[in-house]
């Protein structure tokens, strides 16, 4: 019998600490599959900042650097500048990337840093227990927005792909979701392209993945996927927001 699916080689045989139905597990698998398929396990360096996925290094059989909250793009820049032939990816949540780390992501993108950023947008702070994030939807409840996010007081959800697409330095930006097998296939395609761009020296690639946080959303995982489709996608439309992958020669 042929194997249709088995544990990716570069994922250690360990339980994920993530909650039932959490999107991190799915995204971790996709990245691991890609590392196996591209044969870059010994060159890959992951950067995991503070957030539920700070422990990603427990699971990947690759080099890792655990970064301070919000600083992964800077840490990734340091690693990439020090070791240009390593394949560096940063794995960040929405609080990390779009709140405390906004400057770092904008400037790494603007420099066209030749790194791959996986941005997990689940519209909440997971690790700290469900606080409002920069991508929390208007009206969505969070422990620090108990009456629902009110734009007059907390502003509107930040659209990262759109924001970064205005920066000349970015090469590839796509927003996907992991709500269905089909969307997972699309997410993998996008992430693989983001890694391939780095391999080809084409500069900054970021994939924003709409993901769910059942525990802090207070939903069953199967309802979480509905919430993404019905509530999040209208605010965060899926699609490619920039793709210069073909035009950019391998400069970096």
């Amino acid at each position: 019998m042929k194997t249709v699916y088995e544990r990716p080689k570069c994922l250690k045989d360990r339980h994920f600490h993530y909650c039932p139905g959490c999107g991190h597990g799915v995204i971790h698998k996709l990245i691991a599959e890609i590392i196996d398929e591209l044969g870059i396990q010994d060159r890959t360096v992951g950067v995991a900042p503070v957030g539920c996925a700070v422990f990603a290094y427990w699971y990947y059989d690759v080099d890792f650097s655990q970064a301070a909250h919000g600083r992964a793009p800077a840490v990734a820049t340091g690693i990439k500048r020090a070791k240009p032939d390593s394949i560096v990816f940063s794995y960040q949540g929405d609080g990390d990337l779009a709140a405390i780390g906004t400057a770092e992501i904008i400037h790494a993108a603007n420099r066209g840093e030749n790194i791959t950023v996986i941005f997990v947008n689940n519209a909440i702070y997971g690790m700290t227990g469900g606080q409002m994030a920069p991508t929390t939807l208007v009206g969505q409840k969070a422990s620090t927005a108990p009456y629902g996010r009110n734009p007059e007081n907390e502003g509107y959800p930040i659209k990262v792909c759109e924001l970064l697409s205005t920066l000349r330095g970015t090469t590839y930006l796509e927003r996907t979701a992991i709500t269905t097998p089909g969307s997972i296939i699309q997410t993998k395609k996008a992430i693989k392209k983001a890694f391939q761009n780095q391999l080809d020296g084409k500069g900054f690639s970021l994939v924003e993945v709409l993901s769910q946080c059942p525990t802090n959303w207070g939903m069953k995982p199967t309802d979480g996927t509905k919430f993404i489709k019905e509530q999040m996608m209208p605010v965060f439309p899926l699609g490619v927001y920039k793709d210069l992958s073909d035009e950019k020669g391998g400069s970096k």
Partner: protein, 354 residues
């Protein structure tokens, strides 16, 4: 090698390149900007990486990333900028990464001004960032030591896998002096712990330990390291202390003025000497204890309202009167001003530091 007439900030840059600096990440701030400017011009010539970051916070985290790969990496800033780097420095110390952080001090607190000061002694030697960590802190007093201590800083950083701070000030940064750049001989440290070197070991650079037993054990390992540093790396200079009845403790630019004051006082027959710490951590407490045992009197001079003086109090022999004289905000004492302080103390009219 012939001597070169060079600005202190640039002397750090040249020495760092000679020491094999691979990556520099910095951010503009007076009075240290000549260093990144120098490196921006010189590093590409030797095929090395210079990058101006978007903030001091980003710069120190770039240092954290690069240091994890085992290369030689440095950043520099001045007082307020160093405050922004402290979380990153704590991470670097926790993850036990070698790097060099330069602080060309300026007036504080807050925005303060761009004039020189020594108000960051506590920040440098007592942590500043969170957690039980220490920085090795070197205190140059001249263009020559700005160069020599930069090279030393890289060696110590690798020897102990610890961040090392070069604590200078606006004068030392801006002053031009004759400097001889020595040819450093580099030991190649082990890199089996590093990332990005295709070792196939899935190494992890981290400072997190969620299990209390493990984090305590890690902290005790760090403590053992710091104690070893205290044993092996204390550096100081004694100036005319053999027969002194009083000695002055001063570091960096202040020690230059104290040196003149000691010479002036000696001309007046006053037996005074100077003890100049070259390392602020590890602090030279044994020599201070020994000298104060003899003199029972010590004067501490700083460009601050009294920070190192507390360590001198802790180090002095029982019954020693510890006096303090400081200027700050960018003001600097003259040698004559200090001689008056020395005379007042020897006449029994000095004010003991409370």
């Amino acid at each position: 090698m012939a001597k070169e007439f060079i600005k202190g900030n640039e002397a750090i840059g040249k020495a760092a390149i000679l020491a094999g600096l691979d990556c520099y990440f910095g951010y503009p701030i007076t009075p240290q900007s000549e260093l990144p400017e120098y490196l921006a011009a010189e590093m590409p010539k030797v095929g090395k990486t210079f990058l101006q970051a978007e903030s001091e916070v980003a710069a120190i985290n770039m240092v954290y990333g690069a240091a994890g790969t085992g290369i030689r990496v440095m950043t520099s800033s001045s007082s307020p900028g160093v405050s922004l780097k402290l979380e990153g420095i704590s991470y670097i110390a926790g993850a036990e990464l070698p790097c060099v952080v330069v602080n060309v001090q300026r007036g504080g607190p807050g925005l303060g001004n761009i004039a020189p000061e020594q108000g960051d002694y506590f920040q440098a030697t007592k942590g500043g960032g969170h957690g039980n960590y220490r920085l090795i802190v070197l205190a140059p007093d001249s263009g020559q030591e700005m160069a020599d201590f930069t090279m030393l800083a890289f060696d110590l950083a690798e020897k102990y896998r610890n961040p090392v701070m070069l604590l200078a000030d606006g004068y030392l940064g801006q002053m031009k002096e004759a400097v001889e750049f020595k040819k450093p001989e580099r030991k190649t440290p082990a890199n089996d712990w590093t990332i990005g070197n295709k070792l196939g070991k899935a190494n992890v650079i981290t400072s997190i330990d969620i299990e209390p037993e493990k984090l305590e054990k890690h902290n005790l390992n760090l403590l053992a390291k710091y104690n070893k540093i205290k044993e092996n790396e204390v550096r100081f200079e004694e100036f005319m202390t053999d027969d002194c009845e009083l000695f002055v403790v001063a570091y960096g630019i202040t020690s230059r003025v104290v040196r003149s004051a000691v010479e002036l006082a000696r001309e007046k027959g006053i037996k005074v000497g100077m003890l100049r710490p070259q390392t602020l951590f590890p602090f030279p407490k044994d020599i201070i204890n020994k000298l104060s045992e003899k003199t029972k009197k010590v004067l501490v001079c700083e460009l601050s309202t009294g920070q190192m003086v507390e360590d001198v109090q802790l180090s002095s022999a029982p019954g020693t009167d510890v006096y303090f004289y400081g200027r700050c905000g960018g003001m600097v004492p003259t040698d004559i001003e200090l001689v008056e302080q020395i005379e007042k103390i020897l006449e029994g009219k000095g004010e003991i530091f409370k």
